[in-house]
Each structure stands twice: as structure tokens, then as C-alpha cells.
Symmetry: C2
Subunit: 140 residues, 2 copies
């Protein structure tokens, strides 16, 4: 996902969030570069590198708020950390277990067929496919 500065302000307003320096700065870091995956710690490092002054608490709150506003999608791959994806279209993920890194798999290169009916009283909210990959042990 990518927003123009104006679109992004607009998007914040739609979400009922006021336009603050922190949200603009984090939004720029998160959304300026096409589809990507972030977690709080990475974002803190990027903010530091870009000399953006934001507290870690605000980073967490912002990620949560953006996810609640459907500007980010949370991806559960690791019991330890939360990852957020800027790509909101249907697609799946490679998870590099060695590096703790996510990579998109375009929706059309992978098909889930024969999806079972959801158990009684429930409806399908989402289907996540995580292809866990590992670095090949070096060969001769």
C-alpha cells in the first residue's frame, strides 16, 4: 500500500484519528515503500535512523490503531512478536524462520481449494497460509 500525503491525512480522519506528527512520521515509514511487513521493534529502529522522535508506546499504539482502522493487517506467525502487513489484498506469506522475516506470496500463485464449511454458528473471517521456509543447510 502507498498513500499520497493528502490521502494519508484523509485516511486518518476516516479512521477517526487526529493528524499528529507521530502518526504522519510513522505512516511515512510504514507506507512509503510499497508492500512491506513491520513489527514494533523494526519500526522503532527505522524511526531512530530517520531521527523521528516517537516513543515505543506510541509505536505500539499506532500499529494497533492502524490495524483496527484496516490500514494494516496483523499476521500471526510467531508466538513472540506481532507482525503487520501493509498489503491488504488477498495473498499469503513465506515466513523465513531463521530470520523472522515475512515475504508476500501473490494470491494467484497459490490456491486453497476444498475449503471446509465453518463449524456451526461460525463464519470464516480469513484464511491464512504461511509457508515456513528455512535456509538450506550448505551443500557440498
Amino acid at each position: 500500500m502507498t498513500y499520497s500525503p493528502d490521502e494519508f491525512r484523509e485516511r486518518l480522519r476516516e479512521a477517526g484519528l487526529s493528524v499528529t506528527a507521530q502518526r504522519l512520521a510513522l505512516g511515512r515509514l510504514i507506507f512509503s515503500d510499497g508492500d512491506r511487513h513491520v513489527n514494533a521493534e523494526q519500526l522503532r529502529a527505522e524511526a531512530a535512523a530517520a531521527r523521528v522522535k516517537v516513543s515505543l508506546a506510541t509505536i505500539y499504539n499506532t500499529l494497533r490503531q492502524f490495524a483496527a482502522a484496516d490500514m494494516l493487517r496483523e499476521v500471526a506467525v510467531d508466538a513472540g512478536r506481532s507482525y503487520f502487513d501493509t498489503n491488504l489484498t488477498e495473498h499469503h506469506h513465506f515466513f523465513h524462520e531463521d530470520e523472522g522475516r515475512l515475504e508476500d506470496i501473490p494470491a494467484d500463485s497459490l490456491t486453497v481449494s476444498g475449503l471446509p464449511v465453518a463449524p456451526d454458528g461460525t463464519g470464516i473471517h480469513r484464511v491464512d497460509v504461511i509457508v515456513r521456509v528455512r535456509t538450506n543447510s550448505s551443500e557440498i
Copy 2:
């Protein structure tokens, strides 16, 4: 998965784990009832209910050791908790988001086709399909 008492002792030895009262008791709780999903907190509650004396630290260590010994498979569905599955055969999961509960989807009722090649230098370790379901909002 289910083990007879002797099989279970044997399985522990294969894994290089000594046979202790705690591992037997937890093993009984985990593996006595066909395929199931556990997390540490649930197991603690079950142990308490069964008047099994085990510390929470031992529960965590045991779950980790059983997973390392391929007696359990860890399933990542939630950034908060770790879930462990006794079903080691190929299959997938419903995750009941409202209840934080896993349910098996038999392997043959769902097919993933067109699996992409793993990125250069990596190999596929596992493919996890999580079908996230939610309780239907009550209708009129």
C-alpha cells in the same frame, strides 16, 4: 496421537528424556484423549483438576521438550500464546478467534495447490493453513 503407557515411556527414552512422574502425568493429560490442542495455561488447569503436582515452569519445559522431540507440533495462531498439537499428521486448523481455540481440519478436505517455489537458498519446512472463524453475530 495416543500412546500406551509403555509406548510413552519408550518414546521418552528415544527422545533422551528420563521418565519422571511429571512427564508421565503431563503425557497422560496431553496424549490420553486422541488428537488435541493444548497451551501451558490449559495444561496447568488440567493438572490442578487432576491433582497432579507440577510447576508451571515444568509445564513450559515439558511442552518445549515434547515439541523438540516431535511428540508435539507447535501451532502459531496468536502472537500472545503458544499452542501445541498432538496430531502430527498433515492437516490444517480452524482457529476460533472468539474463544482462542483450535480445531483440526483433516488434510484431505483442503488442498493447497500451486505452491510457489521457496525463495533462493531456502527450502519449505511446513505449510500452515489457518482458517480463522468467528461466532456469527446473532441474527433476527
